[in-house]
């Protein structure tokens, strides 16, 4: 079956329309149900004693006083939990040489970062559990700390895990073409060293888990604020020695995730283990200080980059040397090598050149583990690439827009394989850039900039083209041995009243998955959207799937839903044809009615069909298939990833006396293929841009030399707030993927992927009269004043 999705006037159409989110009505009345809102009989609470040292041997743990604290029920050490929960090693087979050490739910013998769980206290209330933690006494023997990633591999640096032989987690070198020769022939070679600041997700809902174990059924039920319930089901089963079928993970409302909640966290594993040991519901909600110290961090990179261009400003070679510190363990089960690997895969991605050398070096540190966070690796690769492109433009005497025009892969060049060997099915860099320049009135802004500069007002305009990896196939994780599903499924069922229930393996955490699934199913089946109820986030109920990450919800979950909806429509029409003594092909389902396809004349409401099938099946021909339920699964297969693209622009004003950057406006033109719900896409882009702005200007997990996190609360760790954020203009180009009928690619990470690069280039554009530039994020007032020579640079 095909759908003419480009015609919005088609009957019962929802795909491509803005419709309000059904769950929003509940959330604005405060009737969400997040894990912390759930109360179960006999429920107890856990608080963790966390390591105050970045690296220390754990000595005697005195629990006597804590055990006497009113309300405290039990105390679990690392050894206690290790008897219930097996450790894990986060490696993937396809990332050659990747190594890590076994990690326990609660540290055994050694603590390796400030915030690692050392003891768990179970009590009747969270407050009592914290009283218990305060009464604990743990003896530590401090060990040498590896804090600086630059020296992590130096011979004199102590080893975090001596059994690994060194502090190297992963190294990859990619080389294509004659790189040295190309640089030698280049008319201009530019180079720079970039830093991206270690930052973290700061989900408004902290990580939350409520695990409950029923001994008679040997059943673990986990209410979990997670992005990947099926993955967690597998992991709980494996490490707690339970049959997978005896683990149910329920994921209700999730208060933001952004990749933070797709990982296995030791404290959460400990909670599940404690639930199994105590056979009662156990709740743990990370408090905000715990969140900063134990949620994954990301983006702690130093990248040296070099770009060669010819006399016309065409890129002839690119070289990237990426170094990243990931904390003491690779994070399970996705591993902490992916981000560096992405930098290698994505640098130079929008541009037409084939001579590329890139390496990433991934090292251990005694800091909070890092792993995948929204737009994994993209903001880094885009900032480095776009920063070098702007430098090359300057060297070649070209306008930043013009150098991009000369180098972006042509819109008719697809399929195209990049210098990093990424395969692109169909992108629209030129169309996106031109639309962006028009939206922002680029030439007028340049003229205004020149005028204001004469008045001592320093505005900057920054451009950034980008690619975004979405809809990953098993080539991302499955191929490496991780039980992370790249396929997803949807079951669509018609009930007697003609309403439809859709059960999907992708999950909702605010981005609107439920809504786009409802839209797709409503159109696929042929019912009004208010007759569709979407159920996600319950492993016992929904088809097996990967969940929501890597911008896969719409492209993969949406296609499964569309195919399931269309299959149900076929079943409905077969039954309707028998009831109406017509050819199935002459009928259609529109807005909850069986109609004549040719005339649109109503023949029978779906509720009547439902009544007959469910209650008077005796009146239907014997042997007539009467399944009013269909399940379809979808996986991408032609390409490993559905790449998207776009271009962003930022207009800033730099106060050169104070170093403050004021964001005046931001633009993004993005191509995520088929747009299912324009408003949801725009708001994903806007939210993503602001998270990107956070990395560019504000967010930084700062550590002292001995591994103490100095920005471990909301007052010291700055995230973007309303007063400083700009209005954002969003535009689109639509290049649907041909891999699916729906044609949707992902949109959730594009904003974050491109924003830091656009901001950086805008700041440097503003600083041009001073012949200086910044390349270390976040671009704080102090760093800008240091670049201007007003104050000395400070190492933080």
């Amino acid at each position: 079956m095909t759908l003419n999705l480009s015609d919005l006037d088609r009957p019962n159409s929802y795909i491509g329309r803005t419709v309000p989110r059904p769950n929003a009505a509940r959330l604005v009345e405060g009737r969400g149900q997040y894990v912390d809102d759930i109360v179960l009989p006999r429920m107890v609470h856990v608080a963790f004693y966390r390591s105050p040292y970045a690296h220390a041997r754990i000595g005697a743990i005195e629990t006597e006083a804590a055990a006497k604290v009113p309300g405290v029920l039990r105390i679990f050490t690392g050894a206690d939990v290790a008897a219930i929960c097996t450790p894990w090693v986060a490696v993937l087979a396809h990332l050659k040489g990747l190594k890590s050490a076994p990690q326990h739910a609660i540290a055994v013998e050694r603590a390796t970062w400030v915030g690692e769980p050392v003891v768990a206290v179970v009590a009747q209330t969270r407050a009592a559990a914290e009283d218990g933690v305060a009464a604990l006494s743990v003896r530590f023997e401090p060990l040498p700390v590896v804090a600086d990633m630059e020296t992590a591999l130096a011979p004199e640096t102590p080893l975090i895990h001596p059994e690994l032989g060194d502090n190297l987690v992963f190294h990859r070198l990619h080389e294509k073409g004659e790189v040295d020769a190309a640089f030698a022939s280049a008319a201009h070679v530019v180079e720079a060293t970039f830093h991206t600041g270690r930052h973290t997700g700061v989900c408004m809902e902290p990580r939350s888990i409520l695990a409950s174990y029923s001994r008679p059924e040997n059943q673990l039920t986990v209410h979990h604020s997670t992005q990947a319930p099926h993955m967690m089901q597998t992991i709980f089963a494996k490490h707690l020695d339970l049959p997978e079928g005896n683990v149910r993970v329920i994921c209700g409302d999730v208060g933001g995730s952004y990749g933070i909640k797709v990982h296995v966290y030791p404290d959460e594993m400990a909670v599940a283990a404690i639930a199994k040991a105590m056979a009662r519901p156990v709740k743990f909600v990370a408090d905000r200080l715990e969140s900063f110290a134990s949620d994954i961090h990301a983006r702690d990179h130093r990248i040296k980059g070099r770009m060669g261009v010819d006399g016309e400003g065409r890129i002839v070679a690119l070289e990237i040397d990426d170094l990243t510190g990931i904390g003491p363990y690779s994070v399970y089960p996705r591993t902490s090598a992916i981000e560096g690997n992405q930098v290698v895969n994505l640098c130079g991605g929008p541009y037409d050149f084939q001579t590329y050398r890139a390496q990433t070096t991934v090292v251990l540190q005694n800091k909070t583990p890092t792993c995948q966070y929204r737009a994994v690796g993209h903001p880094i690769a885009t900032a480095v690439t776009e920063g070098l492109v702007d430098l090359a433009a300057e060297a070649a005497g070209l306008d930043p827009a013009e150098i991009r025009r000369r180098n972006l892969v042509a819109d008719d060049a697809y399929p195209y394989t990049s210098a990093a060997n990424m395969r692109f099915e169909g992108l629209s860099h030129h169309a996106s850039l031109e639309k962006l320049l028009k939206l922002m009135d680029y030439d007028a802004l340049r003229a205004e900039q020149a005028t204001l500069r004469k008045q001592g007002i320093h505005r900057g305009i920054g451009l950034a083209s980008f690619i975004e990896l979405t809809n990953p196939s098993p080539f991302m994780y499955g191929i490496g041995g991780a039980r992370i599903s790249a396929q997803d499924g949807c079951t669509v069922r018609m009930d007697p009243d003609g309403s439809v229930v859709a059960l999907s393996g992708v999950t909702e955490q605010g981005q609107g998955t439920d809504t786009i699934l409802a839209q797709v199913v409503a159109e696929g089946v042929g019912v009004p959207i208010d007759r569709v109820r979407v159920i996600t986030g319950d492993t016992q109920v929904t088809p097996y799937g990967g969940g929501t990450w890597a911008s896969r919800g719409a492209g993969i979950g949406g296609e499964a839903a569309l195919q399931a909806g269309l299959a149900l429509r076929e079943s409905i029409l077969t039954i309707a044809a028998a009831m109406l003594q017509a050819e199935a092909g002459s009928l259609d389902v529109v807005a909850g009615e069986i109609v004549d396809k040719a005339t649109g004349q109503a023949r029978m409401p779906l509720a009547e069909l439902g009544r007959i099938v469910y209650f008077r099946g005796d009146t239907l021909p014997k042997g007539l298939p009467r399944e009013l339920v269909a399940t379809r699964h979808f996986i991408t297969s032609d390409y490993p990833f559905a790449f998207t693209n776009g271009a962003q622009a930022s207009l800033v004003e730099v106060d050169v006396e104070t170093g403050f950057v004021r964001l005046l406006k931001h633009w993004c033109v993005e191509d995520c293929g088929r747009i299912i719900n324009p408003q949801l896409v725009d708001e994903q882009i806007r939210g993503g841009i602001v998270q990107g702005i956070g990395g560019a200007l504000y967010e930084h997990c700062l550590y002292s030399e001995d591994g103490q996190l100095m920005t471990a609360n909301m007052a010291d760790y700055l995230v973007p707030m309303a007063a400083e954020m700009p209005d954002m203009v969003i535009g689109h180009v639509e290049t649907p993927t041909r891999e699916s009928l729906l044609g949707a690619k992902g949109a959730g990470e594009a904003g974050t992927a491109g924003a830091p690069a656009a901001i950086m280039n805008a700041i440097n554009d503003a600083l041009k009269p001073f012949s200086t530039r910044v390349a270390a994020m976040p671009f704080t007032p102090e760093r800008i004043l240091a670049a201007l020579g007003t104050v000395p640079a400070r190492r933080l």
Binding site: R126, A127, E130, D131, A134, D287, R288, L289, E657, T658, F660, Y698, L702, M710, T711, N713, A715, D716, L718, P720, M721, A723, E724, T780, P781, E782, L785, T790, V791, P792, R794, L796
Partner: protein, 285 residues
């Protein structure tokens, strides 16, 4: 993140509060709006055995102007100060400063007295009190003490308040005719504690300013009067000389947002901007 167990009693009047405090001992803490204290309790930053709630003591409420003095009760909230007509007329610096303090939902509970007694060096009110030559009125069992603001802030979170002394009000001389007041601060985000801030007052005269007060915040362990720079401006000296004098007036320490050098630099930028704001010719630019 829950407070440790603690005892609580609500005081009905000042005498009751002092009696309760004496009974609970010096480690007990007074709570009014609680906007800093409760955060600290949640974080278990201090061992607080008992709280004495003074938030409903009538005599600490209200503000009024009498005999050239604006008296503001300790329980007056930031929000109340921000929208007070008498404050706007008699101490416009406070009207300008109030919106800079944290956020609306904090300004409704946080009190002037609480902020002054807490003496956060990055807070706006202590600097405003210095700039306005305010007198801090405190009460103990033995009577009242009136402490000039310049003698009140002793160090980091340290004031002239003794145990069993309660800050009851501040008294501020009403603004004289022709006198101007201004506050500027540099904060990374609206409502954040300032990296550097300056509350100031002065009277334009002969193209310059006289009777200048310059009270810096976020630039040391307390709010600080920049005596050297004030002297130079009072004497009709050059603005850049006053900026240079700040090097001796201020001794900031590095923090996460800015190095000491950066803070010194920002202090000078703020001085130029505040002097421009106080000077009628410049302020219309």
């Amino acid at each position: 993140m829950k407070p440790a167990p603690l005892a609580y009693a609500r005081a009905s009047d000042l005498g009751h509060a002092l009696a309760l405090w004496r009974e609970a001992g010096p480690d007990a803490r007074l709570i009014a709006g609680g906007q800093s204290l409760v955060a600290g309790l949640n974080l278990r930053l201090a061992d607080v055995p008992a709280l004495i709630d003074i938030s409903r003591i009538e005599s600490l409420c209200g503000l009024g102007c009498e005999g050239g003095t604006l008296r503001i009760g300790a329980l007056t909230t930031h929000a109340e100060i921000g929208r007070s007509e008498p404050v706007a007329r008699h101490a416009p610096l406070l009207t300008e400063a109030a919106p800079l303090i944290a956020h609306p939902a904090i300004r409704t509970r946080g009190t002037l007295g609480g902020s002054l007694a807490y003496a956060d060096p990055a807070a706006e009110w202590p600097a405003c009190m210095l700039a306005l030559d305010a007198v801090i009125v405190v009460q103990s069992e033995t009577g009242e003490r009136r402490i000039p603001a310049a003698d009140f802030f002793l160090g980091l979170f340290e004031t002239a308040l003794q145990p069993f002394e309660i800050l009851v009000a501040v008294e501020i001389p009403v603004i004289a005719a022709g006198r101007r007041q201004a506050i500027r601060e540099l904060a990374r985000r609206s409502g954040d504690y300032a990296m550097a801030g300056l509350a100031a007052a002065g009277t334009p005269s002969d193209g310059g300013l006289r009777d200048v007060t310059l009270a810096y915040f976020g630039l040391g362990s307390t709010a600080i009067l920049a005596a050297g720079a004030m002297r130079i401006l009072d004497q009709g000296g050059d603005l850049e000389d006053a900026c240079a004098a700040l090097d001796d007036d201020l001794d900031p320490a590095d923090d996460l947002q800015a190095s000491a050098t950066m803070k010194r630099h920002l202090a000078k930028v703020l001085l130029r901007r505040v002097v421009a704001a106080l000077s009628p010719v410049m302020s219309t630019a």
